[in-house]
Symmetry: C2
């Protein structure tokens, strides 16, 4: 079905002003049918469906309002649904967009009448106690906990977290959660399975198959969500176990699927997910990039949050380090972008070699290296400057982890472009999603050999494109169409078993790369 | 949407044989999406929707069956729904048709693969304790009973009765109720409201407006019915408070809506409901015919059941009475058709006059008339011949009630035909629905002036057309379309306030009528 581009047809849930004559002996149509008939005139003749549980409240309000008022219609893909009726025009009609992250949930409340974002909120994923990484949770899902399964608990927790967000967003706007008429959920495939209470067992086992890629929209009451009982719940489709709805959101919100010239989208978390394509074709792959890039491995690593070292520079001559924390707060740890800056700086100051190994004899390292139990460590911030009164350090093990991550990252990018016959230089834009894209200095990532050596203008940070995509679904009918189209259009390449990837990976475990010609802008400190 | 007339597209729920390749690294589509994709090929490209609660069971069975087997698809008006999956082809796929009567529920189990009726069953309406007539129940619905409303209780009871039938039908066929995949409910408008738990308050108050005429199909679990949770529940639409889905069933099963020549459908219960029309137009009305015709008023009256006097004749010369009971059992009472025969016989034997009043001096009445407390009564069966050892009598009050009923009946028929400019003689067929149609002798009804004086071949009994219509919905796609079309096509005339009806009613309170020319075949015993 082709949607017309009328602005007033864009939101997933809409209001229609209704005015009818009251029933009479000469016109005995039932209350609900009377309403549907008039409404159908606003819907280009489409006959709205009324879910069983909404018949009584809708018909009763319609009658008590004197057979006139405002009909609330959900524009589900299967056709319009009449779900509520107001005697008076409401000031707002709201939907909730949700980025369902493994660690954090971020959400916004969107006014479906104006398209404005009214509020944003974030909360820690209530599932964290059952496992910080997704694999641990997949295993936990299969366990029994009393009469419940782990999956039951994981599902409950994520619903609790969503409810917490819904309450916060609604209350901040003077509403109640049961006034939220739509929810769009964007998350990785495993989180979507937990949300839908689907068995995640096969997600992490070859050949890595989801139970469902594209769940049909359903109503909040079907899942037991404490929103409006007939709120439409739209879950962004996934392409594979390692390519989730959050990436579809990224494609939609970046407009990758509408570009004339070939572009790339990179989303880096525990996994790196990459899409290359344009309006004609889209190729995707995903690979384990390692949690180093999320600040998840470095012992002093942390998420991009106040007090995280976001950026730092090391003077190549003096070895003097300068850093900046998020929010200017006393340093508490290092986030992904800080680690990248730091390791790039260590390389440029020759404190580490091309293998990423410390060179204790290097003058710039003087007074900065500590011998820890298991390895050397570089003191980023001395104890007296940190919030906790302990030094913030980066150990050899941390650097090793980053080296694997950056090698994986580059290998993924090189493999996918090679497989579709596109050179890095053909890419018009490289969109970098998420906190990684927001905080990273592409220049330092290039120094490390993590991102290709391209002009910095090619790199475009997207921010939380998972959330942005979900917001679009709520208010933009063409985004909803694109979302389904993209799901069908993307070709997914499985890298977990890809030979080319494995070969490229070996060559990428140096700074910037064994093939220095690939990184002409980066000083080479090897034995050439 | 125009349905093709392919036989294999007829049932409301269908099976599709599915055979797919298992997923692999090169083909990582999710389990459910894999199934939907193949299924879509069987559905002329339509994408089946999977209700949230069915994702897990369908996807799991599909996987465990080796990605092949039999998909169960509900062909709802909004589009196909994939609701279950079987590894092996089931022997039967069943649906339940239900005539939701005020007094009794009658149901059949239909094999949706073959179209065959596998079993029938009937049960008393569990609501009877809250009122035998529908008006009493409407009033009861508004009361409070502890924490529940009367409506809650009425709804529960009718669901209990349906469950009793479902268990009986399923067990008799070696199935379980949760294997019933569809339910089509045909009943009067008030019973449909109780079934759907809708407020019946306005049904019996001018201008007599239902909450809903045409509920959209829903799934059994939404209403808490103990069938297959995704069984589709189809409720026949109503036209008005006094013109229910049972009548739509009558129209569909008689084929009135497809006739080239104008025909009439009469359904008589507590109300008489009448439709006149053909394939181009349909006009309907309903009026209170009085429960006399259902055997509900006569003190010895009973429903058409074993022991009911179904037919009787009185020799006009001797006054000798002969009767026959249903099932040949000892007489227990008189049902509607028996009362009609009896009063017609009394008239022909001149034991009553044209006003329906006893003529005690008439020789044929000798030894047959008793003086009861409040009126004379005619002994139909002496005490020694009856099952209970008490005489079965018909009192003057009973006859008066019948006179009102028959007058109402004829006035309804005369008014509606007159309003559409059709003469009785233009009617090609008069379909007579229900127990009334099954047992009545049209000739005796003509003698009374209840039915128009037409050749007997015009009168066609339909049996339980409410149930027959429901059965058609289960297996015949064109019947489902016609059901919706008819709902939209019927023009309803409200007789409760019709002046013409009131005038005709006065003239009809004689046997056969004040205008004897209307009944040339009936002997006239008046003072002409």
């Amino acid at each position: 079905m082709v949607q017309t581009k009328r602005i007033d047809m864009q939101s997933l849930v809409k209001l229609y002003h209704i005015e009818t004559r009251p029933p009479s002996l000469g016109d005995n149509t039932g209350d609900l049918d009377r309403l549907k008939k008039v409404l159908s005139g606003h819907l280009r003749g489409q006959n709205p469906v009324v879910p069983l549980q909404r018949i009584a409240p809708v018909a009763e309000t319609f009658r008590h309002a004197g057979f006139k008022g405002y009909a609330v219609v959900v524009h589900a893909p299967g056709g319009p649904q009449l779900v509520d009726f107001f005697a008076q025009a409401p000031e707002m009609l709201v939907g909730m967009a949700l980025d369902l992250g493994t660690t954090h949930l971020e959400a916004s409340l969107v006014d479906l009448l104006s398209g404005k974002v009214l509020a944003r909120a974030a909360v820690e994923n209530g599932q964290l106690e059952f496992g910080t990484d997704i694999l641990a949770r997949i295993h936990f899902a299969a366990t029994k906990v009393g009469k419940q399964t782990g999956l039951d608990l994981l599902h409950e927790r994520v619903l609790d977290s969503i409810h917490t967000l819904a309450v916060e967003l609604a209350e901040g706007t003077g509403l109640k959660p049961n006034q939220i008429m739509a929810l769009c959920v964007s998350g990785n495939t495993t989180m979507a399975h937990f949300f839908l209470k689907q068995n995640p067992y096969y997600l992490c086992r070859e050949p890595y198959i989801p139970v469902v890629n594209t769940p049909d929209p359903f109503s909040a009451s079907e899942l037991g969500l404490d929103l409006h009982p007939a709120a439409i719940v739209w879950v962004m489709p996934s392409i594979g176990s390692y390519f989730g709805g959050d990436l579809i959101s990224g494609i939609i919100s970046s407009g990758l699927d509408q570009q004339e010239e070939t572009c790339m989208l990179i989303d880096v978390g525990t996994n790196a997910e990459v899409v290359v394509g344009n309006r004609d074709w889209l190729i995707a792959c995903a690979g384990a990039a390692g949690p180093a890039l999320e600040g998840g491995v470095a012992r002093m690593g942390m998420r991009a949050a106040p007090g995280a070292i976001e950026h730092c520079t090391i003077d190549p001559e003096s070895g003097r380090i300068e850093y900046q924390t998020i929010g200017g707060a006393p340093a508490r740890g290092i986030c992904g972008s800080g680690v990248i800056d730091l390791v790039a700086g260590l390389y440029l100051a020759r404190i580490i070699d091309i293998r990423g190994k410390f060179r204790p004899s290097q003058p710039q390292a003087e007074g900065r290296l500590l011998q820890q139990e298991d390895s050397l460590a570089y003191v980023v911030v001395p104890a007296e400057e940190t919030e906790l009164g302990e030094p913030i350090v980066l150990s050899q093990l941390d650097i090793d982890a980053l080296m694997r991550s950056k090698a994986a990252m580059y290998s993924i990018l090189a493999t996918i472009t090679n497989q579709v016959g596109v050179s890095f230089h053909d890419l018009r834009q490289i969109y970098v999603a998420g906190a990684f894209g927001k905080h990273i200095s592409p220049r330092q990532a290039i120094v490390l050999g993590m991102l290709p050596d391209l002009p910095l203008a090619v790199y475009t940070p997207l921010g939380n494109s998972s959330l942005a995509g979900a917001e679009l679904i709520l208010t933009d009918a063409s985004a909803r169409e694109r979302c389904r189209d993209v799901g069908a259009k993307v070709t997914y390449i499985e890298l977990n078993v890809n030979q080319e990837f494995m070969i490229r990976f070996s060559g990428s475990r140096f700074i910037p790369h064994t093939d220095h010609a690939l990184f002409p802008s980066v000083p080479f400190h090897g034995k050439s």
